[in-house]
Symmetry: C2
Subunit: 488 residues, 2 copies
């Protein structure tokens, strides 16, 4: 238990920063005059006070963090911060007389900070702008955290084979201690993330969105979160231009941010396209979108231009685990949404804010499967697993495989729980998959035209657990729950 104080000390700092970010909806509430400012102000003050008090109590525990602290910290951030983030949501709901349970609020907060973008709220069009801003802003903040998690922390800990791209980031960063390394990496990644955010906001704005809409949908796009301020999601704008802009930014944001960062440092953009994972991610999304479009055209759902417009946007949105929709694609023949859901399991890059198994792991798995076939045909051939020029170590393959095992096990067990609770098989399976992939809309009654509000508290809890497991790459959460983790 002596691991907890130094971790909580860092966490308390993050809590203060997170509470301060409530200034954004507070400001919006004041400007729009929706009368919700007391909720945000109270929450802000409570958060700052709690964080400061915790920080003060633990001031003696300033020490260098070890890798095991990293595991504890990421669990604390994604499990405990949403607990605090419930406060403004519940206060606002109370002010609006909107019925919302604590579990519903926690679901909403986890969904935001994990960039899942599933929602239990309906009637978004009539919600005050300050609330929608806060919901989408949480995704953007979550995205900042996820980048550090995915590029710096999990690879350093060797969670789920992330070691495979450790070398990539280690290149420009020489420091070997945990905190300075993470700090340096964070600065670089956030520079990329901020530039992308500014570009996306300006593009949406120039493309015809109002400033507030542009801001909120930029938050949801570059973080691959996919929450919209409208029940009709991105379909609200009905604009091929805006859809194209969103597609470009979803494609860009689905790739490894460490690549952009390294390419910027070395002033060498060719490095980006040389990356095997990046090419695979982009190819999968574009070919997947094309396949769905052609299928929709063949099945006479749309004429060719509309098939391309709807097929490409919704497939790229789901495959990148963003989760925007421009139409209720559950009305399409079931092969299309099923393929899109399948793509969401494996398309996003390992260093992005996307979810699922990640393309890097898929490539390693495919190479490992190929190696086994070659070994059977020619037992004496030496035959390492390669990714581009890099030979992948057996340890990495084992980590990747453990990750996939836990992923499948979580999918099966959580789906069974939902079926046991009375949901039909398709809804249960797709809700767990969409949550585990931090994607958002599922099939059945949790589809893009519906919301998670139809689920009861137990079912919401299962989905919340799935989002957390998916975001923490399962293993980080499992290991902290092991009793032997706490024995030194």
């Amino acid at each position: 238990m002596r691991d907890l104080p130094p971790v909580l000390r860092v966490f308390s700092g993050l809590l203060v920063l997170f509470a301060l970010s409530l200034a954004a909806p507070l400001l919006t509430a004041v400007v729009t005059g929706d009368g919700l400012w007391p909720s945000y102000l109270t929450s802000l003050l409570v958060g700052v006070a709690m964080g400061a008090a915790l920080f003060w109590r633990l001031r003696a525990h300033r020490q260098e963090l070890q890798p095991r602290h990293g595991l504890l910290l990421v669990c604390a951030v994604w499990v405990l911060l949403p607990l605090y983030a419930c406060l403004p949501i519940l206060l606002v709901a109370a002010q609006l007389d909107y019925p919302l349970s604590f579990l519903g609020a926690y679901f909403e907060a986890v969904s935001g900070l994990t960039t899942t973008g599933a929602t239990v709220l309906s009637g978004l069009d009539h919600m005050p702008a300050s609330l929608n801003l806060w919901r989408t802003f949480m995704q953007w903040l979550g995205g900042m955290g996820i980048l550090i998690l995915a590029v710096a922390i999990l690879p350093m800990l060797g969670v789920g084979g992330g070691q495979a791209f450790r070398a990539e980031v280690a290149g420009p960063i020489k420091d070997t201690k945990l905190t300075p390394r993470i700090t340096q990496t964070a600065k670089g990644l956030w520079a990329v993330y901020l530039s992308m955010s500014v570009a996306c906001f300006l593009a949406f704005w120039a493309g015809g969105m109002g400033a507030l809409d542009a801001l909120m949908h930029m938050f949801a796009t570059v973080s691959l979160g996919g929450l919209s301020a409208y029940d009709a999601s991105f379909g609200q704008f009905d604009s091929p231009l805006l859809e194209t802009i969103a597609m470009v930014f979803m494609l860009v944001a689905s790739c490894n941010f460490a690549l952009y960062f390294v390419a910027m440092r070395k002033h060498d953009l060719r490095r980006i396209w040389a990356d095997v994972e990046m090419r695979a991610t982009l190819t999968t999304m574009l070919l997947g979108g094309l396949l769905v479009s052609v299928y929709l055209w063949i099945m006479d759902v749309y004429d060719l231009p509309h098939a391309l417009r709807f097929g490409m946007f919704n497939t790229i949105s789901i495959a990148s685990t963003t989760g925007f929709a421009t139409t209720d694609y559950l009305a399409w023949p079931v092969f299309a949404p099923l393929l899109m859901l399948l793509l969401s399991c494996m398309t996003a890059s390992a260093g992005s804010t996307g979810g699922g198994i990640k393309m890097l792991r898929l490539l390693i798995l495919l190479q490992q499967a190929r190696r086994e076939l070659v070994r059977l045909a020619h037992p004496r051939v030496i035959n390492p697993v390669r990714l581009g020029q890099t030979v992948i170590d057996n340890h990495v393959i084992f980590s990747v495989l453990a990750f996939v095992l836990f992923y499948v096990a979580a999918l099966v067990l959580l789906s069974l729980l939902l079926v046991l609770s009375g949901l039909d098989l398709v809804t249960a399976f797709s809700a767990v998959l969409a949550s585990l992939n931090c994607m958002g809309p599922g099939l059945g009654v949790v589809g893009p035209a519906s919301s998670y509000a139809v689920l009861n508290d137990f079912q919401l809890t299962v989905c919340t657990v799935a989002m957390l497991l998916g975001r923490l790459e399962i293993l980080s959460m499992m290991v902290v729950l092991m009793p032997s983790f706490w024995r030194r």
Copy 2:
């Protein structure tokens, strides 16, 4: 291509033996006077003639078989023998004026020889006894082949981690050459299989079945095939005694036959219960059955005695991949059939005639997952994967993982194909899973009260491929399809 002649030479011998086994339905046809003897006799003669001609042509190719020949031989046996086995089925169908396509007949033959037990025929109660005898007898013959495949051939080739129990069989068998080893193993396994068959037949007969019913249902039980002579499957007998007998034999037949064989040789029955996999298989089936029974009781589907009777029998039948049913369990709340289907993926032992991932592989996977968690918590601890007393080599783990990858990939891709062909998601997924596990009945429209006759030719082909992939442990079939396999 020079690998083919020695393999086809052995295959031609097996073809002759298989053709001669048509003597059984021929005799039944003569005794019952159903007039179908010309179909069986013609088929028998054609098979013997083809086999003998092939054998004669290849008489010069008598040579010691290499492991790669083993891969080719198992593919030839399960892909080509059913092709010949279509002949009597189609001739009988023609004599009976029963409409049956070639693909339907091939499906039926593959289903028999892989001990899947799915059927495209309906109105079984009115089929001539000789045909039902032949269908169930094919399962029993298939079981003989599968035992050799699972205990001797695949482990020797290292397919899917079968190396893990190679030592177990290698114990009593000293010869290191392929053919004599396999011959010796075969004799031992078949002695076990025959004893079990005789015991099962006598038990069914003593329990009240007619001699012919006892014979046919013995064939389907000890092979874990699950084809019945009745549309109501095992429910036809409505006898708790017979159901109990069947349960005992399904439990016994789900365990590793090599264990029984070694225990018999060493006159030491304690070895059997000492086996980790065996205990896990039996525990899973019994606890699974109990769980389903209690669930049915809680959900008020039955009173407690009936819940136990129906829950235990159907769960053990599905988990062991037999596929008998005593009621239409799709009428139960969906959690129960779903859990049963899930158990069928992983309960049967690696050295049995069952299908799916197999308990041995599951145990190795669980150990590997545990190892990865321990490594994350304590990076410096050395931490091998153990099964009982045995340390599992990394090569074995890699093989197991490759198997599971292909299993999941086959499941996903073949399900997508069925969805693309117009089936609903639940039917598509469960039909592929039931075929891949060589189990039989699925959910949706291919449930226990229905048959695969509702599928069209394309859908039947997909299921046939799934049965073959499942039976040949996927990798054996994939490797033979690789172009590089044919380059030396």
